[in-house]
């Protein structure tokens, strides 16, 4: 078992290289890279910052092109410049943004608190709502509660999150003015007391969180419900009744743990939600999160940022998958990874 998880951890290395190499290669072949951008700007006669200044008719000399390529590492073959990039990453150096010239790590770090706040809230709220709701729906299958919550949950699932976001913001922030229009905190946030600060973050978070959660409730809730119902009708529940347990005791002591197994399985992979963040929702609510940063970086061909976000999110995803397996092994004694004999 331990051997299995050690192998899984070691497998992160080739997987990580595979993912990053693929995206690295794509950044090389997709048109509109940083050098082409620079050239366009120069041709348009624009100021390009202190580093490079156009000369004469707005075209670059060959030497200048070479200099630019060297600066961005485009002068070497793809694999060797990937190796250079990887070596830097191993030294915790993600390079500099081509747009802002700032270190990539600094830019990403700035967005961390916001993204983690939303990611963690989404994760916690999803489980805090879906598990009890799914259990209640399973226990009282066919009840009014069951049908109404299904309707709500599926509506949220069917509507794209940006539609929900826009609807929420126009109703509750525009029409009724109950919540702020957007942003993470108010402009005068620093002047508030601790309690005021908490309230401020909360009021800013309500609408985006609803938009985030609306779509994620359906899957987990229904998974929980179906899983509980399967277990309620299982043979071992009849055994529990035949022993003299009451219905509620047998649900609590037998069906519950079994029905949590599939939900626990999904937990690890949801860890990557922590840093997810949809750029659509972040755009609508004017939140400076990782999602928006990544989207802008792709549009603007700010490849160091793109690669930086990729490094962090792929590591998180790979670790999350292993965490998933650990969760499953913890809750289900039948699962023994790696062919070793369990005792």
């Amino acid at each position: 078992m331990t051997g299995y998880f050690v192998r899984r951890f070691l497998l992160i290395i080739p997987t990580f290289i595979g993912i990053t190499l693929l995206v690295f290669a794509i950044t090389r072949v997709v048109p509109g890279g940083p050098i082409e951008r620079m050239m366009t700007q120069i041709q348009l006669g624009g100021e390009t910052g202190s580093l490079h200044r156009s000369q004469g008719g707005g075209t670059l000399s060959d030497e200048q092109m070479e200099e630019l390529k060297r600066y961005y590492g485009f002068d070497k073959p793809m694999l060797s410049s990937y190796a250079i990039w990887l070596k830097k990453v191993l030294q915790f150096d993600l390079g500099h943004s081509t747009r802002y010239q700032d270190p990539v790590w600094e830019i990403i770090k700035e967005r961390f608190p916001i993204s983690i706040f939303y990611g963690l809230s989404t994760l916690v709220l999803t489980y805090a709502v879906c598990i009890p709701l799914g259990l209640a729906k399973g226990m009282y299958h066919g009840s009014t509660l069951d049908s109404w919550s299904s309707a709500v949950v599926f509506l949220g699932y069917a509507l794209p999150s940006y539609v929900i976001g826009i609807a929420l913001i126009s109703l509750f922030a525009g029409y009724w003015d109950m919540f702020p229009l957007g942003g993470f905190v108010s402009d005068n946030y620093e002047e508030f007391s601790a309690w005021g600060k908490a309230k401020d973050i909360f009021s800013h978070a309500v609408l985006p969180l609803i938009a985030y959660l609306a779509g994620s409730f359906a899957v987990t809730t229904l998974m929980m419900k179906n899983s509980l119902m399967d277990n309620l009708s299982a043979d071992y529940m009849r055994t529990a009744a035949a022993k003299g347990l009451s219905r509620s005791e047998s649900v609590r002591k037998h069906a519950l743990r079994n029905s949590l197994i599939p939900v626990a399985t999904s937990f690890g992979s949801n860890i990557s939600l922590l840093l997810g963040g949809s750029f659509l929702i972040e755009t609508i609510f004017n939140i400076d999160g990782i999602g928006l940063l990544g989207y802008e970086a792709i549009i603007e061909r700010d490849y160091p940022i793109v690669m930086g976000i990729l490094v962090i999110s792929s590591l998180l995803y790979l670790l999350g998958n292993i965490l998933s397996d650990i969760c499953v092994a913890l809750v289900d004694p039948r699962i023994r990874f790696g062919g070793g004999r369990g005792a």
Partner: protein, 327 residues
Amino acid sequence: MSLLSIQNLSVSILGDDGIARELVSSISFDIAAGETLGLVGESGCGKSLTAMSILDLLPKPQASRSNGKVLFKGEDIGSTNQTRLRQIRGKNIAVIFQDPMTALNPVQSVAQQIGEVLRIHFPEQSRQQHGQRILELLREVGIPAPEARLSAYPHQLSGGMRQRVMIAMALACEPDLLIADEPTTALDVTIQSQIVRLLKGLQAKNGMAMLFITHDLALVSQVSDHIAVMYAGKIAEYGKARDVFATPHHPYTQSLLAALPGIHHQAKSPLLALEGQVPAIENMPSGCRFANRCRYVAELCHNKTPLAEHISETNTVACHRWKEIRS
């Protein structure tokens, strides 16, 4: 007074169309203390429904007891409250099921699952006492190296071992009556006889009564004092096991015995082989339920349900023509 008395028990099944239809119909039988009643019949004839209705373990809402009384030591446990019923379940009457694979909780250890029934019915005893008792039970049901099995999960045990664990669980509170619903059907033939021998041995030791359910007539002949032959939700013939095997009166029992290899019956002939199908629950005949397969069928059989008639003091048969058939 008998230990368990079932009187006019009927169980209805709720169809997909929302109509409840009586499958088990007006069944009566008694089990005396320490005795074994073998309930035998083809699969689907309602044996499990009959057995599960005793402790109100029917799969709800698909199946429900629609009529009849269940008397245990004279107490009407068919209409008692849930609290009282829970005291009886596992303590006075225990059940073992057909499939030990699914009847045990897959994520609890052997010790947890046996310990639970002790905790329910002997909450005043200490954990140590329960631990002692669990080991003693595992030893009693013939599980080798019981100490090593305490922390085992069901998937780590063979089918036969799992059924032994089920038996240990059922015997934990030394019940007066054990309901064994096809306890060996899911097991290998060699394991089957081991389990049957184990059950007989434990029964003799504890002096408990047993309702032994099976579709296997040969098996029921080994274990039972009395047998009840069931067909399509009704009891065709009931009596002392020896009598029923020696002189079966119901045409259905006769066909079953004739089909049995190795048992010599004077009227054994290929003519007795059963043809046709058990009637579906949607169109149960209003007369004798065996009529479409019976070679003695007469006009009367289609119109009138045959009631149980006494052949002797203890034995009964439900056939209009049993007297003619005998001669």
